[in-house]
Each structure stands twice: as C-alpha cells, then as structure tokens.
C-alpha cells in the first residue's frame, strides 16, 4: 500500500479536485480551465504558486497514463478556441456515450456521424438524419423522439446545431478522433496544415486540399495575397482572424454573435 502512495506522490487534492471538476463539465475552454486551476489551488493550497497550466496538466497526465486516460487539448473548428477534455486513450468506440444513451440513441449518433463525415461541408441536415430513423438498431424510434435525442446530443456537447444542421462538437472530435479515423479511413478528411481530423473547414477550389478555419487563420496571418499551399492558386475564401483570448475578453463580445459572423465556406 505504501508503494502505490509513493507512485501517486504528485497527486494532491489540488489535482484531484481539478480532475473531478473537469470531468463534471466534460469539456472546458482554456480560460475556464485556468480559472478552475486557480480555484483548486485556492481551496486546497492557497500558499503555493499556481503552476503553469501546461506543466500542471502534463504532471497529471503522467499519473493518468497507467489508466489509459489523459487530459487532451484541442481547438474548436469554427473559431480556434483551445478546449480541454478528459479522454480515454484505449477506446475504439463511442464508449463514453454508451453509459448515457440507449442502444438506438447511440445508433442514431453513429448514423449522424456517418452523414457528417461523408458530407462536403461537415454538416448533416436534420431531415437527412431523421430519415434514417427506420434503420436504427434496438427499440423502434419515431422521428419526434429522434429530434429530442439530437437535442440531447447538443446539450451534452457531442453535436453542434446551426440552422437546422448538425456537426461534431469539439469534444466529440477530441474524444473520438481515433475511432473516426479507424472506422472511416477512406471518407475521413484531413487538414493540410496540422494533419488532424477535419470536419469543418475551407477547401481549395482547384486542387481540393482542405484546412481548418483556425489553421487558415494562422497560415495566412501575414499574407496580403493568400495562396493555396499545395497548388499556389489564389485562396478564394475569407481569411478568419486568429483567436486572441485577451482581445475577446476585453471586447466582451458574446460567443453567439461571433459565431454568426462565420459562415461555412467550401
């Protein structure tokens, strides 16, 4: 018993509370994560200096490694906000959702997922998803029920809804990227810049390569004349701004109004 306590030596109540709260929220933006970290220090170890977030998380991850879990950092596809979630490393299915949803609900998610991945824009319309309701495994589900289930997915941050269409929430991408790449190796799209899984993004009209919106923002940041990195043709889309957390807080711009400025561009 003594030995295992030594092994977990770096885990203090600060780290434990941090993990509990992160788990409760499912996914958190970086700003909230920093506040969470400070809050945990305040409660358990107010005299200590708050460790740099990256080191703090790496330390926790070194302990979680033996449990095949880690705190993973990602970026939202539409506006480049850094997000964090606790993910299982060794899963190859959507098992995290399995405890929350019934068999037919999980199958609905899988169908929506497939439509999203196959789509050109990364969005699947509500109508198209609901039309597949008859093909679901498990108990029969009516379209009305399915609408309600889709809203549940949005509330638990697995899907995002925009104007009647659905795409994957950053959380789903963080947690399921591996599963998605394995299950749909041919249909999956990948960003030309970061090589990560791509659901929403911009594409070159000439050669077809794709890039995440935040990757576009960074890549073309100081280019007066943006050109495709692959075929050198003019990049035909509006270049989004690089996400700046300081700027946003000062401006006090609400998330929803910012989102409406961005439209899907393909």
């Amino acid at each position: 018993m003594q030995g295992s306590t030594k092994r977990m030596g770096i885990m203090t109540d600060v780290h434990r509370r941090f993990l509990q709260l992160l788990m409760t929220h499912g996914v958190l933006e970086e700003w909230d994560v920093k506040r969470l970290q400070k809050h945990c220090y305040k409660v358990h170890d107010s005299s200590a200096t708050v460790e740099k977030l990256e080191d703090f998380i790496n330390n926790i991850n070194s302990v979680l490694e033996s449990l095949y879990i880690e705190i993973k950092k990602g970026v939202t596809e539409d506006d480049g906000r850094p997000i964090y979630a606790l993910v299982n490393l060794a899963t190859t299915s959507i098992s995290k959702m399995a405890t929350d949803f019934a068999e037919n609900e999980l199958d609905l998610f899988r169908k929506a997922l497939e439509l999203i991945i196959d789509s050109e824009t990364g969005f699947a319309s509500s109508t198209n998803i609901l039309n597949l309701v008859d093909q679901l495994k498990g108990k029969k589900m009516r379209k009305k029920e399915a609408e309600h289930v889709l809203q549940k997915f949005v509330q638990s941050k697995w899907l995002i809804e925009k104007e009647g269409e659905f795409t994957l929430h950053g959380r789903a991408i963080l947690e399921m990227e591996q599963y998605i790449r394995e299950t749909y190796p041919d249909a999956v799209k990948v960003c030309n810049i970061c090589h990560g899984l791509l659901i929403q993004g911009q594409s070159c009209e000439t050669c077809g390569i794709r890039m995440h919106l935040p990757c576009v923002a960074k890549y073309f940041q100081s280019s007066p004349e943006p050109r495709c990195p692959h075929c050198n043709d003019y990049w035909p889309h509006e270049i989004p701004e690089v996400f700046n957390p300081e700027k946003e807080r000062e401006a006090g711009v609400s998330k929803s109004s910012k989102k409406s400025l961005r439209s899907r561009q393909h």
């Binding site: 018993m1 003594q2 030995g3 295992s4 306590t5 030594k6 092994r7 977990m8 030596g9 770096i10 885990m11 109540d13 434990r16 509370r17 993990l19 509990q20 709260l21 788990m23 409760t24 929220h25 499912g26 909230d32 506040r35 969470l36 809050h39 409660v43 358990h44 330390n59 991850n61 070194s62 302990v63 979680l64 490694e65 033996s66 449990l67 095949y68 879990i69 880690e70 606790l86 299982n88 490393l89 060794a90 899963t91 190859t92 098992s95 995290k96 399995a98 405890t99 929350d100 591996q178 790449r181 394995e182 990948v190 030309n192 090589h195 050669c207 077809g208 390569i209 692959h230």
Partner: protein, 325 residues
C-alpha cells in the same frame, strides 16, 4: 482526395511516434521513479493494446507499458527495472504482459467505466461492474474492486460508497467536500445545493416523507412556484421532480394505494450517502436561529441515525481489512 495524402499521414504518424516516444519515456520515468514496492503496478492492457489502431494511436502509452512491465516483473523484490521505451517493442511486449497482472488491467477498465458513471450520477451495481470486467473474473472481483477503489481515491479523490447492500449498488462521492465552483461560468453550483438541503430538511421534518403538496407549500413561502421560471433555480418543478431525482438526491413516487394518485418525496440514495439527518438538522436549526436539540424528536432520530452509521462504518472497515489479507 489530393495526392500524397496517404504518405502525408504516414510521415505525420512517424513524426508523432518519435515525439511521443520521448514524451512517453519522460512520463514513464516519473511513474517509475516514484514507485516503491508496487503490488499493483500498471501492467500493459494487452486487450486494449490489440484493439488500438497502429501508428496514430498514442505510443506514449505503449512506452509506459514497457517500463511498467519491468515493474510488474519485479513486484516481489520491490526493485524497479526500467526498460528503455520503444513503441515497436510495446506491441510484442504487450502479448507477454497479458499474462502478468490481469487484475490491474481489469481495475483500469473498471476505473474508466466508473468515471463515465460519475458524470451521470447513477448508482453502479455489482452486476454492471462484472459485465465490464467479464464474468469469468467473478471470484477476483473483491480484489479488482479494492484496486479500483484505491486508484479512484488516490487519483481522483472519489470514494465508492455502498448505498444498497441487497443489490450491491454504489455511488461515487467526492472526498474533497462540496465543490463551490460558483466562480465558473457553468450552471452547476451552490444555489441548488442550498435548496436541496432545505428540501431534505422538510422531508425529514414531515417524518421522512413529504407529499408534493407539502413541498410546494414550503417552496411557495420561499417565492418558488411550479411553472414559474426562477432566476436561480430555473423551472422548479423540473428541478425537484426530474433533475434532483435523476441525480439520486430525491425520490419521487406515488403514495401507495392513493386514489386519486398523490405523489411524495423521500430522500434518495445519494442524499443518504452524502449527508446525514444530523447534518440536515443542523441546517434547519441554523435557519431557525437555534440548535438541533430544540427539535427533540428529530434530534433523537438524528442521534440514532448517527449511531447506525458509526456501526456500519466500523463493519465496512473490518470487512475491507478482511479482504486485504
């Protein structure tokens, strides 16, 4: 798809592998150095390794498999022999390590399952847990459960408390005390807890069950009305009949043989696990600016409840010790 996509993926995977190898080594080093005499050192989960896809998965984990494999080997001597991490060797190593310490592997699986359940706040039954680890490990279940609870406590500060001894169901509660994270932009936090405590108090006062009418009478005095959205509590009816019930803090059921049907509230299993009659009485007393002994019959009942909890606690501790031997 643009040309060269596959080769890009492959080269990226190679780059990530190389990156993660060094990271994995570093990570494994931390765990290895801190390890004393580990009976429960993490063995490579071979079933998990085989399920994982090739390169794009985190080879860092593969490395920890390697080094902890050494740990498992020398568990008896307590010495720690670290093999240099190598993700290619991990695949081969995992086949060997599957023979080593499968109980710890199962405990890791169970930890993941419990974490997922923690979020839904549902009680976890022994039957469910056996399904997760595979029924053929049934006789090792107490040991696996012990290792699981140990990790849950050490890493996450979560304790497993049995709420129903007949069906062997447990809830996970935080050892760290209530989380007053009202500073976060989330919707959880203190106000619900405050209301919950007073609701539990009303139920206790009315003889451990309160009809829906009695509850609303109390809430109306506080300015909370069914169907009228409250600034802090949201829609109150949904809160008390659905949200708090789903989180197992309250039980909401029809009064037996009531015609027309009347509904009543009782304490839910989670309320019993996370608080006590005495604690709730203390809150009640505070609100009324007095002390618990001013409610003699309630106080007596709370005292008896404290006694029963003390007995149960010593019994569970004794049982745990028995299991560990």
């Amino acid at each position: 798809m643009p040309r060269g996509q596959k080769s890009k993926l492959r080269s990226r995977a190679k780059r990530q592998q190389a990156r993660d190898e060094t990271q994995g080594l570093r990570g494994a080093q931390v765990t290895a150095e801190e390890e004393g005499s580990p009976p429960s050192s993490p063995a490579a989960g071979s079933s998990q390794v085989s399920q994982r896809a090739p390169p794009t998965s985190s080879p860092g984990t593969g490395d920890s498999c390697e080094s902890s494999e050494g740990g498992a080997q020398n568990a008896d001597t307590g010495a720690q022999e670290r093999k240099p991490g190598n993700s290619q060797a991990a695949a081969a190593g995992s086949a060997q390590s599957s023979r080593r310490d499968p109980l710890t592997r199962k405990a890791s699986l169970l930890v993941q399952y419990l974490l997922e359940k923690y979020n839904t706040k549902e009680p976890i039954t022994q039957a469910d847990m056996l399904k997760v680890i595979n029924k053929k490990y049934k006789e090792y279940f107490p040991e696996i459960l012990r290792r699981t609870s140990e990790r849950m406590e050490l890493v996450f500060g979560l304790e497993m408390k049995e709420v129903n001894t007949s069906s062997h169901s447990y809830v996970l509660i935080s050892k760290l005390g209530p989380s007053t994270e009202g500073t976060l932009s989330g919707t959880r936090g203190l106000p619900k807890t405050g209301l919950l405590m007073t609701l539990l108090g009303v139920i206790f006062m009315k003889g451990n069950r309160a009809t829906e009418a009695e509850i609303w009478e109390f809430l109306n005095v506080l300015g909370i009305y069914a169907g009228r959205r409250h600034l802090i509590f949201g829609e109150p009816r949904k809160l008390i009949t659905k949200d708090l019930v789903q989180e197992k803090y309250l039980e909401y059921r029809q009064v037996p043989d009531s015609d027309p049907p009347i509904f009543e509230f009782l304490w839910g299993p989670r309320a019993h696990a996370e608080t006590s009659k005495m604690k709730v009485l203390e809150v009640l007393a505070k609100i009324n600016d007095t002390n618990p002994s001013s409610f003699p019959s309630l106080y007596e009942e709370a005292l008896r409840d404290e006694e029963a909890r003390a007995v149960e606690k010593s019994f569970t501790q004794g049982y745990k010790q028995l299991c560990m031997q």
